[in-house]
């Protein structure tokens, strides 16, 4: 009961703010709504007993990546940019893509509704609290991807510094 209320609240919040992200003229306001969408998603994660993903989402996504976004928006924000046309005339393409996507998913759900539709109430002990299990998987089974991810981050960091530097 409470679970469902929380989910639908966060889901609605996420969708509404996601729509606002792509429709606001001002990039800073878009960023604010993106943060809201991400936090709403984080709430959904928490509702799914994924505490660690929740906190990673909050710290990294909302607290880290989005701060970077806001920072860059402020650096490049031009008053002129606000008065320019903000949208391409490609609504048609977007609509088609969305429609095709929606149809696909609807079909998928319709076909497999019996196997997928009802989520089994997961036994509480399997997933709660699972921070330790996440750590176990991360550092045992998925050790190599983890290290690769850190290398990816390093490369990205170097790349970002090189590109954003003033005089190369």
């Amino acid at each position: 009961m409470l679970d469902q209320a929380v989910f639908y609240f966060f889901a609605a919040l996420a969708i509404v703010s996601a729509i606002l992200v792509v429709t606001r003229r001002n990039a800073v306001q878009s960023a604010i709504f993106l943060v809201t969408a991400l936090l709403a998603t984080a709430g959904i994660f928490l509702n799914l007993n994924a505490e660690f993903v929740f906190i990673v989402q909050v710290i990294l996504y909302a607290g880290g990546i989005m701060v970077l976004f806001v920072f860059v928006i402020m650096l490049v924000n031009l008053d002129v940019a606000l008065h320019q046309v903000q949208f391409n005339r490609q609504w048609f393409v977007a609509l088609i893509i969305s429609a095709v996507l929606a149809a696909q998913v609807a079909a998928a759900i319709a076909v497999s509704r019996h196997s997928l539709y009802i989520m089994p109430a997961a036994p509480p002990e399997t997933l709660e609290p699972n921070t330790e299990r996440v750590a176990f998987y991360l550092f045992h089974t998925y050790m190599l991807p983890f290290e690769l991810a850190s290398i990816l981050l390093l490369v990205a960091m170097v790349g970002a510094v090189v590109m954003a530097k003033k005089r190369v």
Binding site: Q29, E51, G63, G64, V67, V70, F71, M74
Partner: protein, 447 residues
């Protein structure tokens, strides 16, 4: 709906209400204490007019701020300008949810408690950045940008310092961390002093306090991101800042200073320390009563006496669990009451250190701040984490006794710190040397 289903929610909601209701008052009185401490260090008296010894000053200030005209600049982004202080305050208050004020007084004991506090309080930066941007003023924008850069940088080292303590505790739950310190009998400040130092510095920077108060440096940026704010919105920023101070002080207390534990909690020989809290309160009460006849007005006399009586009541509450028979209900409340006292006492001491540093040191320059953060604190915190890991490994894998492995690793960390400090001296003033090459601005081809 079943009543039993609601009961677990009642107490946390009650605690949350208490904290949200009391926090503005607490923040106001921290400001008063700060002004008093500052005055004492600067051979002055500080606020003395509103109430005896200025005790009603926070309330007068609050009333003034609430009644002030709410100015929103003409060219500001109204929505963001309106919402930004709320973000700051909300983030700061949410972070309090996972803090254990004594063993019984906690809103929620999350199993990711510490990460939760870190994550939520890192959201407060949006309030600052967006507020600075929305004001549409150069000073505000520069304050906001500085603050974004500063908070992101120092969160790194604060996080690493916390990782060090987490390695020792082996859990993320705030209650578990205190329990671990209680079990071993060693506060983590003695096991990882360097980690505590890093956290102290980083937490000052994170709360934008002097000597790292770059975002609001009043002599450079007027008031930084708050320049265009006034009245109640400004008060909200202020509330957020002081709440954040309480939050970082609570984290430090929980992680490094033994949380709600009394000093020497496990040594029966020091049990007389249990009488210290009531005695302290009685001493404060005595001071209040002594000063009562010296107040100029009848009302002030009564108020001063009332403060004294309040202190006596608190002292009685503190002494009550020890006076009653051992197995009565009141006696079992002793850890809760005394735990809360010691927790708040340690938080207050930590905040006092903040104030002390603020009134002693000049302000860093922004590039120096960043250099200190990235070239000294971050490497040092990494060294610290590695050394704590090494100490734990030596102890657990090779069976070295604790009293060898930990001092050894602290010494190694200190050597690392000294090395960093020595190399850091070399790059002092990058901007003076750069001036020559700054002239030859390359022109973009297509511009």
């Amino acid at each position: 709906m079943n009543l039993n289903a609601i009961i677990p929610y009642i107490l946390p909601v009650l605690f949350a209400l208490v904290i949200v209701a009391l926090l503005p008052l607490v923040a106001g009185y921290i400001v008063l204490v700060e002004r008093k401490v500052m005055a004492d260090m600067q051979v002055r008296l500080g606020p003395m007019r509103v109430g005896p010894h200025g005790l009603l000053q926070p309330i007068a200030d609050a009333v003034k701020l609430l009644l002030k005209e709410d100015i929103i600049p003409e060219s500001a982004d109204k929505l963001v300008f309106w919402g930004a202080p709320l973000i700051s305050v909300t983030a700061a208050m949410l972070a309090l949810a996972a803090l254990p004020i004594g063993p019984f007084f906690q809103i929620a004991d999350l199993n990711i408690g510490l990460l939760y506090i870190l994550g939520i309080s890192s959201l407060g930066i949006f309030g600052i950045v967006l507020g600075g941007w929305a004001s549409n003023s150069h000073y505000s924008l520069m304050g906001a940008l500085r603050s974004a850069a500063q908070l992101v940088s120092y969160e790194t080292s604060a996080g690493m310092a916390i990782v060090g303590a987490l390695l020792l505790a082996g859990t993320l739950s705030t209650r578990g961390i205190v329990q671990e310190q209680s079990d071993t009998g060693w506060w983590f400040i003695f096991v990882a002093p360097v980690g505590f130092f890093i956290y102290l510095v980083a937490s000052i920077a994170e709360t934008n306090r002097a000597p790292f108060d770059m975002p609001e440096a009043e002599s450079e940026l007027v008031a930084g991101y708050m320049t265009e704010y006034s009245g109640f919105r400004w008060a909200l920023y202020f509330l957020a800042e002081y709440t954040n101070m309480v939050v970082v002080a609570s984290i430090a207390t929980t992680l490094f200073l033994g949380g709600w534990m009394r000093p020497f909690a496990n040594t029966p020989a020091f049990n007389f320390l249990d009488y210290l809290p009531p005695l302290l309160m009685l001493w404060v009460a005595g001071y209040c009563f002594r000063r009562t006849p010296k107040q100029p007005v009848q009302v002030q006399k009564m108020f001063m006496a009332a403060v004294g009586v309040l202190c006596v009541v608190v002292a009685l509450v503190l002494i009550m669990p020890m006076a009653v028979p051992r197995d009565s209900f009141l006696a079992t409340s002793k850890p809760g009451i005394h735990g809360a006292f010691w927790f708040l006492f340690k938080v207050a001491a930590y905040i006092y250190v903040f104030m002390w540093l603020r009134f002693t040191f000049p302000r860093y320059r922004f590039d120096q701040l960043m250099r200190l953060g990235w070239q000294f604190l971050v490497p040092l915190s990494i060294v610290n984490v590695m050394m704590i890991g090494l100490a734990l490994a030596l102890h657990r894998q090779f069976g070295w006794p604790n009293w060898i492995s930990f001092p050894l690793c602290v010494a190694l960390t200190l050597i690392g710190g000294g090395f960093l400090l020595a190399t850091g001296e070399k790059h002092e003033h990058p901007f003076v040397g750069e001036e020559g090459e700054g002239q030859e601005e390359e022109t973009p081809v297509h511009a």
